[in-house]
C-alpha cells in the first residue's frame, strides 16, 4: 500500500510552490501591519493592546478570502490544467486523492490563521501600550474572549471553505468556484440579516443563521437557538457538502 502522507506532501507542494500562495501569506502579514502603523501614527492616545488586538481581528476576513480561494481552486485547477488525468491514473482511489486535497486545504487554513494570530499579537503588544477600555462579559478575560472569538471565526472560515471545496468539485472551473465562494463569503451577512429567526421560524435551520457561534457568547441566541443547536446544524451542513463533493468526484467521468 502507498503512503497517504505522500499524497498530502504532493498537495502541499502544489500549494506552496506557487507564488500566489506566498503573496497571500505576505498580505496576511502586510495588511495588519499597515493598519497598525496607520493607527499608531494617526491617534494621539495609544489604545490598549487587547483593544487593538480585537480591532486588527476584523482583518481576519482576509484569511477567509484567501483560504476560500485555495479550497475553491484545489480540485478545479487540476481540471483546468488538465493534470487531473495524470493524477487519477495512479494506484489510488479517487476518494483518498480528494481527502488529501481537503486536508492540505485545512492545513493551509491553519497555517494562515496561526500566522495571522501571531502578527496580530506582535503588532498589538509591540506598538500599543495604552489603557484598555473594552469590557468583557462575565467569566471572560481579555485573552479568553479573544481566543474564543478567534475559534468561532475559524469555524466560520472552515464552513465557507467546505462550501468552496464542494463548488470546486462541482464546477471544475477555478473561476466559477472562486467567484461563487467569495460571493457567498460576502453575501451571507445579508442573508443573515434578512432571515431573522424571530420573524421566520424556519430561518433557524438556514446555514448562515448558524455560522456565527460568537452570538452565544453574550448569553442565549434568538428564537430559542442554542450553541448546541447551531453546532449540530453546522455539522449536518458540512457533512452534506462533503458527501456531495465525494460522490460527485468519485463518480464523474473525466473528459477534460
Amino acid at each position: 500500500m502507498g503512503n497517504f502522507l505522500l499524497l498530502l506532501q504532493n498537495e502541499n507542494m502544489k500549494i506552496y510552490r506557487r507564488i500566489r500562495t506566498w503573496v497571500m501569506l505576505g498580505l496576511i502579514v502586510a495588511i495588519p501591519a499597515l493598519f497598525a502603523v496607520l493607527v499608531k501614527v494617526s491617534v494621539t492616545d495609544d489604545p490598549g493592546a487587547w483593544d487593538m488586538f480585537s480591532n486588527i481581528t476584523i482583518i481576519y476576513m482576509l484569511v477567509s478570502v484567501f483560504a476560500s480561494v485555495i479550497f475553491a481552486d484545489i480540485v478545479a485547477s487540476e481540471f483546468g490544467w488538465g493534470t487531473i488525468k495524470l493524477l487519477l491514473i495512479r494506484p489510488w482511489k479517487r476518494s483518498k486523492i480528494l481527502l488529501s486535497k481537503l486536508l492540505a486545504g485545512i492545513l493551509f487554513s491553519l497555517i494562515s490563521t496561526i500566522l495571522f494570530l501571531a502578527v496580530d499579537f506582535i503588532l498589538s503588544f509591540a506598538l500599543f501600550h495604552g489603557r484598555s477600555v473594552n469590557e468583557y462579559p462575565a467569566d471572560y478575560t481579555a485573552f479568553s474572549y479573544a481566543m474564543e472569538q478567534m475559534l468561532y471565526q475559524y469555524v466560520d472560515l472552515l464552513v465557507i471553505c467546505v462550501i468552496a471545496f464542494m463548488l470546486s468539485t462541482l464546477f471544475r472551473s477555478s473561476g466559477i468556484s472562486i467567484g461563487l465562494s467569495i460571493f457567498i463569503l460576502f453575501a451571507r451577512n445579508i442573508f443573515q440579516a434578512l432571515l431573522n429567526p424571530e420573524l421566520y421560524p424556519w430561518a433557524k435551520y438556514v446555514l448562515f443563521t448558524n455560522m456565527d457561534l460568537s452570538q452565544y457568547m453574550m448569553g442565549g441566541g434568538q428564537a430559542g437557538m442554542t450553541m448546541g443547536f447551531s453546532i449540530t446544524m453546522l455539522a449536518v451542513y458540512v457533512l452534506v457538502f462533503l458527501a456531495i463533493s465525494w460522490v460527485v468526484f468519485m463518480k464523474r467521468d473525466v473528459a477534460a
Binding site: M1, G2, L7, N10, R17, G82, L86, P91, K93, A255
Partner: protein
C-alpha cells in the same frame, strides 16, 4: 518469453453517454511485448476506450482486465501496471520537470530517486529537468510525459496520439524508443493514432476502430500476410506467366500477384527459367493505406 497471457483483455466493453453509444461491445486482447496500435479516424472512440482502460471514465458494460486485475473491481491493482499519457501530457507548469516527476513518483510505491534520474536520462531531459515546465517546448513536455509514464516500469504503456505536435525527428525518436521498450524490455505498448503511416512505422499489430466498433486486427510484421504486396511483373507472355505463377491477375502486359520479397525473387527466377522475359517488376503500393480507407471510409485517415 515467459507467458503469452494477454496483458489487456477488453470484454464486451461498452460506453454509453445518455442515449449515445460511443463504444459498442469492444473485444480486444493485447499480447505482451508488442507495440500494439489502435487506429481509427477522429471521433472513432480511441480516447474514450483509453479513458476507460485507465479508469478516467466508467465502463457502462463489460470489463477491462490489466493482467489479472479488473479496472472495475481492483482499480489500484490495475493502475499499478499501467503508465499512460491521455491526449496531451499536461504537467504542473509552475513546478520543474523534476518536481513533476517527484509528484508522480510519490504516488506509486518503490520509485527511488535513482529511478527518476534514470527515466529522465532515458527521455533525454537531464539538462533541463530542473527548469520550470512552463519553459518547455511541446516536444520536451512530451518527453516528460513519457518519463512520468515509465517511472514505475509499468507492464503496459498507454499513449494516446503521442505523435501529435511532434516534428518528424521527434516521431522517429519516439518510434525507436517504443520499439526498444517493447522488444528489449518486454513492455507492452498500446498506442493510438489516426494516421496509418505512423502506425505502420511504429506498430507490430494494429487494431482498427470505426464509430466505436472494432473493425479489424492486423499483424504488420512476422506473418506471411504482412510482408505481401501487390507486385506487377511486366512480361512478354502474361497468360503463360500467370499459369506459371499459379495465381494473380492480368492487366495488359502485366501480371499482378501478391508476394513478399523472397517470393518476388523466386517467381522471377521461375519465369526466367520458363522462357518468359521479365521487363520490369513494380511493387504496387496498394497496401494497408487503401485497406484502411476501405475499412474506415475516406476522409478519416488524414487531417487538414
Amino acid at each position: 518469453m515467459t507467458s503469452q497471457e494477454p496483458v489487456v483483455r477488453m470484454i464486451n466493453v461498452t460506453k454509453k453517454i445518455g442515449s449515445k453509444t460511443l463504444i459498442d461491445k469492444l473485444n480486444l486482447e493485447i499480447p505482451p511485448g508488442r507495440v500494439f496500435g489502435f487506429l481509427g479516424p477522429n471521433g472513432a472512440g480511441k480516447t474514450t476506450t483509453i479513458r476507460m482502460m485507465v479508469g478516467l471514465m466508467s465502463i457502462s458494460e463489460g470489463d477491462i482486465y490489466i493482467g489479472q486485475s479488473s479496472v472495475k473491481t481492483d482499480f489500484e491493482g490495475a493502475m499499478r501496471q499501467i503508465g499512460a499519457i491521455v491526449e496531451n501530457p499536461e504537467m504542473y507548469k509552475f513546478l520543474t520537470g523534476y518536481q513533476n516527476l517527484l509528484h508522480y513518483a510519490r504516488m506509486t510505491p518503490g520509485i527511488t530517486r535513482a529511478r527518476i534520474d534514470e527515466a529522465v536520462a532515458r527521455v533525454g531531459l537531464t539538462n533541463r529537468i530542473h527548469e520550470k515546465v512552463k519553459t518547455y517546448s511541446l516536444g520536451m513536455r512530451q518527453r516528460l510525459g513519457v518519463a512520468q509514464a515509465i517511472l514505475h516500469r509499468p507492464k503496459l504503456l498507454v499513449l494516446d496520439e503521442p505523435t501529435n505536435g511532434l516534428d518528424p525527428q521527434g516521431i522517429r525518436e519516439l518510434r525507436d524508443y517504443l520499439q526498444e521498450l517493447a522488444h528489449q524490455e518486454g513492455t507492452t505498448v498500446f498506442v493510438s493514432s489516426h494516421l496509418l503511416s505512423e502506425m505502420e512505422l511504429m506498430c507490430d499489430t494494429v487494431a482498427v476502430i470505426k464509430q466505436g466498433r472494432l473493425v479489424d486486427v492486423k499483424d504488420l510484421r512476422g506473418s506471411a500476410e504482412a510482408g505481401r504486396r501487390e507486385t506487377a511483373f511486366e512480361v512478354d507472355k502474361p497468360l503463360e506467366a500467370a499459369a506459371l505463377a499459379g495465381s494473380g491477375t492480368i492487366d495488359g502486359s502485366k501480371l499482378i500477384v501478391a508476394v513478399d520479397r523472397e517470393e518476388t525473387a523466386d517467381l522471377n527466377a521461375r519465369l526466367a527459367a520458363g522462357g518468359i522475359r521479365v521487363y520490369s517488376i513494380t511493387v504496387l503500393t496498394r497496401s494497408l493505406e487503401d485497406q484502411f480507407f476501405e475499412m474506415t471510409g475516406r476522409g478519416g485517415g488524414q487531417i487538414g
